[in-house]
Symmetry: D2
Subunit: 364 residues, 4 copies
């Protein structure tokens, strides 16, 4: 088989690597083929979410245990993108993406392909600014090349893990904090996700650079990428990119499709994404492997003309509410509480909506 | 018209009585016909949720303003049942139930009917105990009689607002606290809801008294009422009951139906409840006025075989997570974020599930 | 007696007016002399804190019950300033300020005096802007005149309750939201408190208008009032001002003193404030009636050179942490968990610190 | 030098091991002498606190990096006790305890000594039960022997890290969950801490086994150890014990003293503990290295006769409130926000109070 094979592994905790290690031991996963571990971990998904760092460290240790690589080398070779927050009934899990390459004959259909890349470390002053947009775009293009996906049409999901600003940064930049985009850590997550999403739009060719300037970032919601999914985390200073799409080069039994949720209750987008992957919900031979979506509350405080209070809740951050809703709506369609829903969809789909992608497989 | 007419009024805050007052001023609501104001208010739905008390006080003041009754008299004549917690996108709103009685000719169909009743004040030691079950059952029977609903078959929703134990009670009962069912205020909400739900089962005839003893309460989840919806609040010491069903005596244009959600993702139960009300989602002449449901996380930490972390989240109470999910799932079916979903479904449907009722109306 | 008499009344809940009503019934309080009810209520002190509105409504009802005034008239004549948040061990309570005036001979010492005033309703676009500063300054001057306090030296505490921006405002101002100072409700509390505090500085004469412009507000922490205490609440659109100080006109047995906490652990400021009131902690004849302080985390994430994580906690708002600390530090000095500590000290004392005032009385 | 040398290292995050690694590189710390890393990490200190696991994993990796030991061996040889929750201004930090043994001549005074031990893994059904008490007592005795501390009088602080029950345990024990002490994870922390504390009392000889039975655990607050400090964490299934005291065998320049806080505002206990260590706050030659305390809200909802609402706060767990208060009170006395305050003082001092220990050093 050549192309991407995803392994969806529910976990018993952020540091539970037992299912991955079992599959390595049985030979179903060759640990040297792993390019990315994309997880939903059970922290709050906000600034002080240490489940992400814990999971990253645990998976690095686990993979090192089964390869000749040191933990540092594993960290260099593989992307560990952990998105925090499994509110409601979202199943904590990781998707382990393996790059298989068996020089087999090509497929007659486009099948699941993917690639990874990373940026250099960002200066704190670059977060939320054009420099972050441009460096992200470069990494997206590199990842597309590695995936052998040549144009935007075949790209269905681009995950970026990006840094945020936090108290340590603020205290170090005390005298020069004016030059930081914000000195509020939770807000810096929004800026970093926003710049990363515009970088995805630029890198895939969906957006032109003429449309993006400093005023666009975290401000003009009409400019967005329909395939970007960006998460900020305290555990890194650079950004990491995973591009997923379909490619002629791949002959795996997996395909990916996507759509755009217009708002968090948009069940049609869920079925559209499944259709886009060439499958049907009602087809008993189709298995939905995983669904990937971004969630965000509409900025005007209304959904379908009704008031919601997500932005007025000082006890629970808005991203936590939004993740729960979108995972529930996906689960209402698919019947499965396991999906990857990440919060904060700045420039990732229309205001209040967001991208949705589905990986399916068909058993003959 | 004779029977119950419900008015569903979205609110801009717990003390926003403007829509009710407008309808009184235009004559659409006769304030003396109001028997119950059933609201979802935007607090945390837990112990320290003061949005419930604020809403009750505001609606009492508003009704007093438009009648010859004093606020105290309004409080005696009308039920104010405020359920806190509008997590996710749940629309804060109140449903104002009016008892119309125009001696018009009877309907050939059963239509929406309802009645209210209340218990005496409970001793703190009675909360969560058989005495609470029995007194609640008595009140349910009284309310059924007032609604002219003679048997369980025609009962579709019984809302109980019941008291809880809190720090003031604990400090007063310091020497005798052994006799309280619990000295944890959040836990006392569970006990009070549990005893109330069993009281509904007993009062409607769904459950026999032989099945219910002290060990059943908040413990044996196989014993439940399929139409009970119970909420605990800090603002009262007695319980208040609203029974809703269909009756030959009513000729209003509203009907109520119900079903049982087997778990929080059970979309079939939503459509079943609509069908039970004699309507169809796809029928353009049908309007879903409001949907009433209870939400609760399954006690074993699993949903559809998948792990969830609701019970391990020390930052957000499990009822808050559960309400968000059920409201989202109902919204995924109906397309409307406005529904009445209340948390804590002890003995209200199967473990992890809960009752669902729908009021519909058909425009010819 | 002529001057201000404060009654400090611990409460069993935001709507517990029983102690006030007892004192009215025994004649200790003449309800027509009440000018302000200043309370600490047990909500979260943030945007969705409904304990404040509930307490205001309950105290209005209670006072109306014992006077010939309607609730609306009570609301016009008396200030109800409820500050939410009793984190840690802060005792929920209200201080009822009565204006006594018995034409008695004047005192040879300056004693407790006070006055109230209010602004007109603000436009949402004025919140956090110079207009709010100026209107607040006018109200402060009016209140000083009513208190017969002529200069800043004798002013020890100026409490302002001011409005905030919330989702209803945002949805109404959707098209023009650019003109609002922020569309984040929690952040709007900061702006409103900041503008109000500068207004206090301007009104008392502590600050000159030359020092204050739009860029100062919520930005230049070197400009502050040392006697301002400002709280934002969702329940009002105007601002309300209470000025407290010592005046020759007063012959009550109470005096007020004040100091400035340099940071949240500044126990010296607590003893200084007591000394400033002419009392000593070690003097058995001195009673500390109540202590009033503002709390805020230093913006650089450090206290005494140590890192704190208040600004990185996405589960608990920083004001909640800060209130708990300052109340604990005051309690460590006075031995009493009852004090009035309000969060968010923008322009109210130095960055990370805040004003502290103490009302004492001496028994001969 | 022979005996225990403590190194107090503030951290920039749970996984910040930079200060430890610097001290190893400069030779100030011999990594093979480390017996315990006792940390305060910046999570919520409750069930879903992953900062503890992250810190443990990071420190294991750091020590392995500088020794010939593997991470697994480090984990076997050294105790990693991370207590979550740095509410208010508590400085996140670790104390690295080194066991020095240079065969130097003995001291004429008793100085800081310590020892570690661990229990076997517990069965879930043993948590909160007598078996946990007894196994903990055995480990305490072992640790005392290793510290060369022969009697209770010279023991000043016994830290235990113990397991808790969580959703994975509950789902596995589904059919037999009746045999677990509780199926509420947050509550299981209380039971585990309670049993561990009684085990400390038993092991040190402070309590006799005749006084302890199943009904004592988490119930009879009159039975307690005055030197126990126990923390529960999701990351282990056994318990780990650190005993600290003074011993003739030690000639380090450190001493430890202790006292008992009667309630959370008990500043006298802080100064008593310093005195007990042979030091004085006012002595400029004395340095307070670290203060160790337990915090807990009084169960009757009152402190010094005043009501508090810690037990009614459904948004913030009571242990989070209590830690903030006790750290603030200690800081008010010592002037330093850095202390080790851990929540949940079941059977660790009187109800509402807790143990406090201070390590001091004197510079000649």
């Amino acid at each position: 088989m050549t192309g991407i094979v995803p392994h969806i592994l529910p976990t018993e905790g952020p540091d539970d690597t037992s299912k991955l290690e079992s599959l390595i031991q049985t030979g179903e996963i060759n640990p040297e083929h792993i390019i990315c571990v994309l997880g939903k971990t059970e922290g709050n998904g906000c600034v002080n979410d240490f489940s992400r760092g814990l999971a990253s460290m645990a998976y690095q240790r686990a993979i090192a245990r089964h390869t000749t690589l040191s933990e540092d080398e594993v960290q260099q070779n593989v992307l560990f993108i952990m998105s925090g927050g499994t509110e409601g009934y979202m199943t904590p899990h990781v998707t382990v993406f393996c790059q298989e390459d068996n020089n087999e004959s090509q497929s007659t259909t486009k099948n699941l392909a993917g690639g990874i890349a990373r940026t250099r470390d960002f200066e704190p002053t670059e977060i939320g600014r054009i420099e972050q947009v441009n460096r992200t775009a470069d990494a997206v293009q590199t990842a597309m090349e590695r995936a052998d996906i040549s144009n935007f049409e075949n790209v269905h999901f681009v995950q970026v893990k990006c840094p945020l600003l936090h108290s340590t940064v603020f205290s170090k930049h005390n005298n020069t904090s004016k030059s930081l985009i914000t000195t509020n850590s939770y807000k810096s997550m929004k800026y970093s996700r926003a710049a990363s999403a515009l970088g995805v739009g630029l890198g895939t060719g969906e957006l032109s650079s003429a449309k993006i300037n400093q005023d666009t970032i975290n401000n003009d919601w009409s400019i967005y990428s329909s395939v970007a999914s960006t998460s900020a985390g305290v555990e890194l200073n650079h950004s990491e990119v995973l591009v997923l799409g379909n490619s002629d080069s791949s002959n795996t039994e997996y395909r990916i499709g996507s759509s755009t949720m217009q708002d968090s209750l948009d069940t049609d987008a869920v079925t559209d994404a499944i259709t886009s992957a060439g499958s049907k919900l009602t087809d008993s031979q189709t298995t939905i492997c995983n669904t990937f979506a971004k969630a965000q509350a509409p900025s005007d405080g209304l959904i379908r003309g009704r008031r919601h209070v997500i932005h007025d809740d000082s006890d629970i951050q808005s991203t936590r509410h939004a993740r729960s809703v979108v995972n529930s709506v996906i689960g209402a369609v698919t019947g499965d509480p396991l999906s990857y829903v990440s919060g904060g969809a700045e420039h990732q789909g229309p205001d209040g909506g967001g991208p949705i992608a589905v990986i399916t497989t068909t058993v003959d």
